[in-house]
């Protein structure tokens, strides 16, 4: 009567993904999430027994406990002996929420609450007390299979905020690893352990690091590379050409999409010089892309974002969509922009629009349309576009913090609504909002920030499609980054920085002119190599974007101006991307592009940064990195500004969600900027320090 095969446990969950962990050679990693150490607390012996059995079936290590006090002492005695805690809400000796608080404060472990009580108030209580999840009894296997995601997620967060948690000390190494992993992900195409389509795209990395750390093993590229900071960046990037991708797809199809393992794919492809990691990251993106095609919405979008941020900078959502690094290809000239546009269009189900420049403007545009979810005028506002829009915001958000927040577009919309401060809305706030991935909550928070930061900008063009706009810059960035990787220049760094910001901005709210301005400033950076950077060549694609921009860029020539005008004119339709592109058009990121906004940006940015930093600082004590903003803000150069923006955004984001990974991302970003090479998977940075960008 039994199902003997059940013992397999994870099924499609962690178990299978473990096999695909990056080839660190870490057995732990390979087995992830098997071996996850779970502490279960429940006064009901029946439930306890059942849970234990279920968790064991998931190949987790289970420790049972029927009293909260005992659980706490267990945890205290063995601080790092557990990865996650599952606790019942109603317990005789201690309220489950209290235990939750204790664990959160003392050990900073993820805690899942559980109860037969499914009333909203209780569930809400769980959320507000910081539970990472809330399970309703009877708990089913499916619910337990994926609890590892919370561990990874939390770890990433912790790593990104070094001084943040107790786990820092022992994760110091992890951090490095993480950074490594993160940047590695970005650089080498993502070392996401979780090739599997689990929601935590980038978390695989972290898990790997943490697993390594846990098992006290050194990953191949873990550790002290971090000191060199963006060491990962130095890895040669793999450009997924059309042929290569086709080989990849063929291999995947041969193996079966669900069963395709990077190792096997690699073997089948038999491409010299291609590493398992490259395939792994590409597979991840591909899967996301497929899912996206399949019509799954935001989550996939998020995944895409995660992918994007965590991995190759050049992978934009569109790239992912098509399973091609279209942008990269375009940039590197392997794929004519037009082809790229067409591919993307095809992938998106849209008419291929080739930019004049021949650069993947269409990709940008597509992305834009996808992203600008609330921009009805989006050119591609077809179903896919909207769909994409939903994705995009999330993606954008994910990009920001690389966490598949699964933020719903409506959330974003909600954010937007809540961020009515056209002028006041600082980018950071927006970013924060976006990053938060929490609709109302974030929005609410953003608002206050806005109030606090008087942005001197003029009437900010409300750019509902800021997200879209942002995307574009991101795309540009990506491209730039790609180019950068192709050995051009330091563009990638700047690009990197920007994408995040942009993403945030875009997703957050288009209404903030500040955001736009910031973006504008940043966009140029993203899209182009910073003026200071040699080889400002990227701008071209950016230019083209405006043409696509729905109506945003009426002119192709004077981008800066038209962009501005457009921005002003079209607040609702403003496509941040276009704005960004407009700026990008200005090779001189610092001057021209920023011409109008420059004043704004610098001042606003500084202001924002400062304000945000201050705000965030106040809000979140744990975010020392916020200070970075200020540091950056003072920089004064475009790159600095960019950084500030980012930082601010992140800080803002972080401020909003104390518990969110945004902070971590922000931290990472900040740290990266400072050359600390923080783990910055989300930002799509390869640990480049912005400082490296010659401005």
């Amino acid at each position: 009567m039994m199902n003997p095969s059940h013992g397999r446990g994870l099924g499609s969950g962690g178990g299978s993904s473990s096999g695909r962990n990056q080839g660190g050679g870490e057995t732990v990693v390979e087995m992830f999430p098997s071996g996850l150490r779970v502490l279960v607390v429940d006064d009901d012996p029946t439930c306890l027994m059942i849970l234990e059995r279920m968790l064991r079936t998931c190949l987790y290590e289970v420790t049972k406990c029927n009293r909260a006090e005992i659980a706490l002492s267990l945890l205290r005695k063995n601080k790092h002996g557990f990865d996650i805690v599952i606790s019942d809400v109603h317990m005789p000796d201690m309220d489950g929420f209290k235990l939750l608080e204790h664990v959160g404060l003392e050990m900073d472990l993820p805690v899942i609450m559980m109860s037969a009580d499914d009333s909203k108030s209780v569930v809400l209580k769980g959320v507000t007390h910081g539970a990472v999840d809330y399970l309703i009894k009877p708990v089913r296997m499916e619910a337990l299979k994926n609890i590892w995601q919370h561990v990874v997620r939390k770890r990433r967060t912790e790593w990104n905020v070094p001084e943040h948690s107790g786990s820092i000390e022992d994760t110091g190494e992890r951090q490095q690893q993480q950074h490594r992993g993160v940047s590695g992900a970005a650089v080498s195409g993502g070392e996401d352990g979780a090739d599997d389509n689990s929601s935590s795209v980038n978390e695989g990395n972290n898990w790997r690091s943490s697993s390594r750390k846990r098992k006290d093993e050194e990953g191949e590229d873990q550790g002290d590379d971090k000191e060199e900071d963006a060491s990962n960046l130095k890895k040669p990037r793999v450009v997924w050409s059309v042929e290569l991708h086709q080989q990849f797809v063929a291999a995947v199809n041969q193996l079966g999409v669900e069963k395709a393992v990077p190792k096997k794919i690699l073997e089948l492809m038999n491409v010299p010089g291609l590493t398992r990691e490259n395939v792994a990251s590409h597979l991840q993106k591909y899967r996301i892309y497929l899912r996206r095609l399949g019509g799954v919405s935001q989550h996939q979008g998020n995944l895409n974002n995660s992918f994007m941020t965590g991995q190759d900078a050049s992978f934009g959502p569109l790239s992912t969509l098509n399973g091609f690094d279209l942008q990269a290809l375009a940039v590197t000239g392997q794929l004519p922009a037009q082809s790229l546009a067409q591919l993307q269009a095809a992938g998106l189900g849209r008419p291929a629009m080739v930019s004049k420049s021949g650069l993947p403007v269409s990709s940008i545009v597509d992305e834009r349309s996808i992203f600008s979810f609330d921009n009805p005028k989006t050119r591609y506002g077809d179903g896919l576009g909207h769909h994409g829009q939903q994705h995009q915001p999330q993606q954008q958000m994910n990009l920001l913090h690389g966490i598949p927040t699964g933020m719903e577009p409506r959330q974003l919309a909600g954010l937007q609504q809540q961020i009515p401060m056209g002028n006041r809305m600082s980018i950071q706030q927006q970013i924060a909002a976006v990053r938060a991935g929490h609709s109302t909550q974030n929005s609410g928070m953003l608002m206050p920030l806005a109030g606090q930061q008087p942005l001197p900008r003029g009437p900010p063009p409300m750019i509902p499609s800021s997200q879209a706009s942002i995307r574009q810059p991101m795309l540009s960035n990506r491209i730039s980054e790609r180019s950068g990787f192709s050995g051009r220049n330091s563009i990638p760094e700047s690009s990197r920085v920007l994408p995040t910001s942009y993403t945030n901005l875009a997703t957050q709210h288009s209404s903030s002119s500040m955001a736009y301005n910031n973006f504008q400033q940043e966009l140029p950076v993203n899209s182009f190599p910073l003026p200071s950077a040699p080889g400002l060549s990227v701008p071209v694609p950016v230019r083209k974007v405006p043409s696509y921009q729905e109506e945003v860029n009426s002119s192709e020539a004077g981008f800066s101006n038209p962009s501005y005008e457009m921005l002003t004119n079209r607040q609702n339709d403003w496509d941040l991307r276009s704005i960004g592109i407009a700026f990008d058009a200005h090779q001189d990121a610092e001057s021209v592009a920023f011409s109008n906004s420059e004043a704004y940006s610098s001042s606003s940015m500084s202001r924002n940064n400062t304000a945000i930093a201050a705000t965030e600082h106040g809000r979140n004590q744990q975010q020392p990195p916020l200070l970075h903003h200020q540091v950056y803000a003072d920089g004064g150069n475009s790159s600095v500004r960019v950084k500030s923006e980012r930082v601010s955004a992140d800080s803002a984001a972080m401020a909003f969600h104390g518990q969110y990974s945004n902070q971590e991302d922000l931290m990472s970003a900040l740290l990266k900027q400072e050359g600390i090479a923080p783990v910055d998977t989300e930002f799509d940075f390869d640990a480049y320090s912005i400082d490296n960008i010659p401005v």
């Binding site: 009567m1 039994m2 199902n3 003997p4 059940h6 013992g7 006064d43 009901d44 012996p45 029946t46 439930c47 027994m49 059942i50 059995r53 279920m54 079936t57 019942d88 109603h90 109860s115 037969a116 009580d117 009894k137 009877p138 708990v139 089913r140 296997m141």
Partner: protein, 132 residues
């Protein structure tokens, strides 16, 4: 014999004594844990007997500390849900409703019903396990 077992099980489901959760438990059973379900059931009955006792005593006292009663019942409901004891769970829910309404009479009545269901289920499961 197998068929009989299957029939018994089927009737338990059909009559609403057990729900899908029970099936989940069965899936957890494997060669390494061949008697898992039976063990869980045994544990459940042992624990729930204790709870029933507590509630009985509380009710007999006549003080009707609804909060406390509700708390007991919450626990009872939790474990009943976990093993898929559908009818028992329903009674638990009703009991809690009465508790919240402060309806002592309703509590008493429901509790009697609950005990009955509980006993019935126990017998049936015992029969089932013996057969399988």
């Amino acid at each position: 014999m197998q068929r009989q077992v299957a029939l018994i099980k089927q009737s338990l489901f059909d009559q609403g004594y057990l729900d899908e959760q029970f099936m989940e438990l069965e899936e957890l059973q494997d060669d390494a844990n061949p008697n898992f379900v039976e063990e869980v059931a045994a544990l459940y009955f042992k624990d729930s007997a204790r709870l029933i006792n507590n509630i009985d005593q509380a009710l007999e006292r006549g003080s009707f500390d609804f909060n406390r009663l509700d708390s007991y019942m919450h626990q009872f409901k939790g474990s009943s849900t976990s093993i898929g004891a559908s009818k028992v769970k329903t009674e638990c829910t009703m009991f809690r409703e009465y508790c919240r309404a402060g309806n002592a009479e309703g509590c008493l009545r429901t509790f009697q019903q609950l005990k009955k269901e509980h006993a019935t289920l126990r017998k049936k499961l015992e029969h089932y396990f013996q057969a399988s």
